[in-house]
Amino acid sequence: MLLPALALLVAFTHYPAVATFIDSFMSTPKGNRPSTFVGLENYRIMVEDPIFWQSFRNNLWFALATIPLSVGLALAMALWVNARLSGQAFLRMAYFTPTVLPMIAVANIWLFFYTPTYGLLEQIGGMFGFPSHNWLGDKSTALGAITMVAIWKEAGFFMIFYLAALQGINPSLREAAAIEGAGRWFFFRRVLWPLLMPTTIFVLVNAVINAFRMVDHVVVMTRGGPDNATSLLLFHLYEVGFRYWDTGYAAAITVVLLVVLASVALAQFFLMDRKAHY
């Protein structure tokens, strides 16, 4: 019963992970020259590749911006939806809708949104007298622009988990706090926040993984440009692997990504053990 599922898992998860590691020490086969052992050559190429480092920096920046902002917004959204404000159904719909759209569609919509002189952002800016700006074409704003897209897409998804957790919290806690005269902020900081900790960790782990996995919008909106300003690790991997067909070097980049993901897994393991209150 286990066999079919396990065989497929091994074939497409474990085997490629191990093969990637081995291939990262091998040269890229070219024509009739088979691949040979080259030691750390691929890693040397990587260390000397400025685009790799730029993608690495961009990815860190992207992660450090998307993670806290999308998780923070998700929490605010969940608290608001849970607070039974008027129009609750509309609020939930508005927050969650980006989640069900394909990233490709989202990227196209935002591409249009950002279009110079023509897009909505420009028009709103124009009304307030701001000069026209090419958000995606300018090196200094392009990464910020695609980060915004990722936050827009993700926050509603994370909101769901906070919402589920909030609905699972015993209402008598809130009553008790009210009777004790605890303020709203105090109640959030001392009661809700600790109770939400497992959810926060779960959401954080997902946010970190996504920060290293989301590239669809880069492919559509900027193709890594201008001047590699929006190239992320997985995008660089895709370019090296499938535009330059340098599979040896691509394997080395994959190993870096695997190390990142494995550290997230380990961190989660230890965090879950120590920090979570159940």
């Binding site: 927050y95 490709i104 492919v219």
Partner: protein, 278 residues
């Protein structure tokens, strides 16, 4: 929903502040989408001009539909999503049943091996998986796009969890009646796990409907391209094309999921919740 029990007296101005904040965020969140719908529904000259009297038209959708083989793309995506979901349900049910109900040597190790896929998704390993697919001759086939996802660690995990909670008495009763293992699975376990199946199906369908990078890599013709890749090819090759048509195509791509979501909001939100809470 419980009645509002004694809660702290939130001053009216704070309550209003909550309303303003929540609504402002919701409007900002929905704005890009509303803008896209506006553009798609109006003739090109109104695509960025907001006049209430602008004539409505469906022509952009018709033009987009004619401009690229979207009918074929729709068929491909539908087949692909069905194929993946079908295989996942069968394979993962069997594996989950084995993990939940049988004791065998190395069970825990095998289960941890399964869980690795939760961290290392096939997306990251695309270079190696591409090699495997070309060795198997599956490049540019729907089967090739779907194969790495047939065994889902996530499904195995969710189903195992559910199967474990099913009381043993039910199984014993079925055995007394002379039911075979497969009959027990089909008659007892599967019906009881129905909500989990629905939750997983929604998550899986939206994931694979929206998936992009891997299909982009393994396909190279109209015959196997799913919608997301088709949309990208359409939007990036026809440079001179106007935004009204691209936006219409974008909305077409997202429409089935979007409409399903708007109709079954509750089920969607609950499914995503159920899938996230472990």
């Amino acid at each position: 929903m419980h009645a509002e029990a004694p809660t702290y007296r939130v001053p009216l101005w704070i309550r209003s502040l909550d309303h303003i904040g929540a609504w402002l965020l919701a409007l900002i969140w929905i704005l890009p989408l509303v803008y896209a719908v506006w553009t798609a529904l109006h003739p090109q000259e109104f695509s960025a001009k907001f006049v209430l009297t602008a004539p409505l038209t469906l022509e952009n959708f018709a033009n987009a539909w004619k401009a690229a083989p979207f009918a074929r793309y729709f068929l491909n995506t539908t087949l692909l999503v069905t194929l993946i979901l079908g295989s996942q349900l069968v394979l993962c049910t069997l594996a989950a049943y084995a993990f939940a109900r049988y004791e065998f040597r190395g069970k825990n190790i095998l289960f941890s091996l399964v869980l690795i896929q939760l961290m290392i998704m096939p997306d990251i390993l695309l270079v190696e998986n591409y090699k495997t697919m070309s060795q198997l001759g599956l490049i540019d086939t729907l089967f090739g796009i779907g194969l790495p996802y047939f065994a889902s660690a996530f499904a195995i995990f969710l189903l195992r969890q559910t199967f474990k909670q099913i009381p043993n008495e039910l199984v014993e009763a079925a055995v007394m009646e002379g039911a075979s293992t497969l009959q027990i699975l089909w008659r007892v376990f599967v019906p009881l796990a129905k909500p989990v199946y629905i939750a997983f199906a929604l998550v899986s369908v939206s994931y694979h409907w929206n998936n992009f990078l891997w299909p982009l890599v393994v396909t190279n013709s109209v015959n196997s391209r799913p919608l997301t890749v088709g949309l990208q090819v359409f939007a990036s090759t026809d440079q001179g094309i106007d935004w009204s048509i691209i936006t219409a195509a974008t909305l077409l791509t997202a429409a089935p999921l979007l409409i399903a979501f708007l109709l079954f909001q509750r089920q969607f939100v609950q499914s995503f919740m159920r899938a996230g809470i472990k």
